[in-house]
């Protein structure tokens, strides 16, 4: 306990320096600004804004990036509530009741409770990270390559189970993602694999480029298919602070949502995505009158938003303790850290404690910042959302180009976002969900590395994955999950959760 306090106070002494507060503020602000744009989710936002952190020192850069991330998330919720366009999977749920509240003239309350719930969830999640960080780092020590590989397999199985639509398609997408990650020089022999002899492919495909293409450009192409009818709320925003009655209805969902989100966020394989869905389903089950849901129930905003934010934050845990990015956003964080010369993993905490704890403390500050800056700025976001899409998307397009060019100063990167954008668009049109592919890509390189090492240690015996107890249990969990997901009765329930 004493450790925790001294660590946190170290963190706050770093995060509360004038420069870092300023960076957190700026990050939250621009993150929200870009995240509010319809069709731009946190992944595209971070990929776009990554270059603006290049000139900073590592701690400052990570603090700003974390701010951008939270800002983008909150911006997505704002768009979901005000225009019913969820920027990403996790705010789909918020749009259900949030937008209905907005149509009833209670947009302010919906935004307010989302911000307050998120802040509470963020506070709890920060404490969870701070207290779990050290013990879990210890766990990393007993993990060898065999265990790492099995853990990542489990993560990918999670991603399959959590993906929407056909399980077969999700598996295919994961395999394609891992396959894409093997493009480039072979780690051990140095031979070129699937590079078409192109020199810029020998380092492999840049993650930011892939993510920007799939989540930025493809999204623009997809949005252009639908003639636009944007349902910007015309009613007054109304008061922002929820009243006593609202609080009374919302505080329990916030507590439950925080708990669910924080638990699921720790899981590798993008568990955080499940948080809002699980919370919404739970609230609906517990409610006295479930029919209110979908018609502007405040619980349907408070719970999922808290779960969303808690999960967004605890998903830092696998990255910071084990060095495994559990989702695409964290993979971008890995990219950002590597640019600044930090290799994410258990050693960050011991070698670079000011950075580690500074970042954790700044997460809380970022959440506070969101609460402070967003509520007064709602009017501005509403204005921005009224700009027609025909004017917005060329701007988004140019930001994407500038952002991706600035990362490596390579025109070929810019061309590749066009290619991957079209690939992503094709995948969407054929009913594939790109998110599992991205996760497969993220984990692919690490998986191959660990698989090879594990097999060298075991002299080519595949049974090593079952002989070692930790690895065996991880694989068992993965197998059970997959079987459960394939059971017809569960599948039906799963489809219901996602189609709601």
């Amino acid at each position: 306990m004493g450790d925790l306090l001294s660590n946190l106070s170290l963190g706050f002494s770093v995060a509360l320096s004038l420069q870092n507060i300023g960076l957190a503020f700026l990050g939250c602000l621009v993150g929200t600004l870009i995240g509010v744009l319809p069709g731009v989710g946190p992944i595209a936002t971070i990929a776009m804004l990554l270059p603006i952190t290049f000139g900073l020192d590592p701690t400052g850069a990570l603090i700003m990036l974390a701010g951008i991330y939270y800002g983008a998330q909150y911006g997505g919720s704002t768009t979901a509530i005000l225009v019913n366009i969820p920027g990403e999977a996790t705010s789909v749920v918020t749009a259900l009741d949030g937008h209905q509240m907005a149509r009833q003239g209670r947009a302010g309350v919906a935004l307010g409770i989302a911000a307050i719930g998120s802040f509470f969830a963020g506070t709890v999640a920060t404490l969870v990270i701070a207290s779990l960080g050290a013990p879990l780092t210890g766990l990393a020590l007993i993990f060898g390559p065999t265990e790492y590989f099995s853990l990542m397999v489990m993560g990918l199985v999670f991603a399959v189970v959590l993906a929407r639509g056909s399980i077969l398609k999700a598996i295919a997408m994961i395999l394609v993602g891992v396959l894409l990650s093997t493009v480039g020089l072979d780690l051990e022999t140095g031979e070129e694999r699937m590079t078409f002899g192109l020199p810029f492919l020998s380092d492999g495909i840049d993650f930011a480029v892939l993510a920007m293409g799939i989540f930025g450009i493809a999204e623009i192409m997809r949005n252009l298919d639908h003639t636009e009818h944007r349902d910007v709320v015309r009613q007054a925003i109304g008061r922002l602070l929820p009243n006593r009655q609202d609080f009374k209805q919302a505080y329990k969902p916030v507590l439950r949502g925080t708990f669910i989100g924080a638990m699921l966020g720790i899981l590798p394989g993008n568990g955080a995505v499940l948080g809002p869905f699980a919370s919404y389903t739970l609230e609906k089950k517990l409610a006295k009158d479930p029919r209110r849901f979908g018609r502007g129930a405040i619980e349907g905003v408070a719970g999922p938003e808290s779960a969303n934010n808690a999960g967004a934050q605890t998903s830092f845990i696998p990255l910071l303790t084990l060095g495994i990015p559990p989702n695409a956003v964290m993979a971008l964080m890995v990219g950002a850290m590597t640019i600044h010369g930090i290799i994410p993993g258990p050693q960050v905490m011991t070698k670079n404690p000011t950075l580690f704890w500074g970042m954790i403390a700044s997460m809380w500050i970022g959440n506070l910042m969101l609460l402070i800056i967003n509520l007064p700025l709602v009017g501005m976001w509403v204005r921005l959302l009224k700009v027609p899409y025909r004017m917005l998307f060329p701007a988004i397009l140019m930001f994407c180009c500038i952002g991706i060019y600035s990362i490596n100063s390579l025109p070929t990167d810019v061309m590749f976002i066009a290619l991957f954008g079209f690939v992503g668009y094709t995948l969407i049109k054929f009913g594939f969900e790109p998110a599992p592919m991205l996760l497969g890509f993220v984990l692919g390189k690490l998986m191959e590395e660990n698989l090879r090492r594990a097999l060298i240690i075991s002299r080519g015996q595949l049974s090593t994955f079952i002989d070692r107890p930790v690895s065996a249990s991880l694989l068992a969990v993965a197998a059970i999950l997959l079987v459960i997901a394939l059971l017809p009765s569960i599948r039906k329930g799963r489809d219901e959760v996602f189609t709601e």
Binding site: P51, I52, F54, L168, K169, I171, A172, L175, V176, V178, L179, T182, D186, T189, R193, M194, I220, M221, L224, D225, I237, G294, L375, P376, V378, G379, R383, Y389, R390, M391, P394, A395, L397, M398, F399, C400, C401, I402, Y405, S406, S409, P411, T412, V414, M415, I417, A418, G421, F422, Y425, K429, F430, G431, F432, L451, L455, I456, G460, L462, T499
Partner: protein, 222 residues
Amino acid sequence: MSTPREGVGLSGRRGPVRAPQGIAGGILLIALAALALWLTRDLDQGTLNAMGPAMLPRWLAIGVGLSGLALIAFAFIRDGEPLERWSLRGPFFVIVAILAFAVTIRPFSFGALSLPGLGLVVAGPLAILIGGYATPEARFRELLILSLSLTPFCMVLFGDLLNLPIPVFPQELAGLFPAGWSQKAILRATAIVMAAAAIAVFFATRKARPTTIDVADHSGRI
């Protein structure tokens, strides 16, 4: 919500193919797998003890191909979704806009074709003007004003304030300015000229209709 479930209106379709989307997706996966297998054909697979570079890609490609086959098989057994409507206008203009940005941002040569580096001052407006036509609702005036105002903003933000190594203007432009001017000064001057042009276009082409100013405060009470 009372939206009808997907697939409700599909029962009337005839023919052995019950999920056209599955067929298309399956073919795509198989093609991808074939490409990967072909690309790794010369690489050594190695043994489990000492894996070669081709081991993982090859097995993954086989996995992808099998998923594709399974998708096609299921398309004959189970009902699925029809193919969605494709429009090529959007992707076409978006891709061309991105390519235009990529080839003009800095000196580019591809075979016999070579372009001088024109910098953000040209690449930015090009991307916006071409990309803007991805929607049938495009209006030239709007796009022109947008490109003339956003580009200087980005020039100042990325080139001046953030010091990112992004080429901002062609070197030839520097010759037009007095010799003593620094790169930053030229950047700012160009940005000001563009912003002024944006304002000029805005006022020059404004339609002489009674302007209905949106007085109603949409932003609400805060």
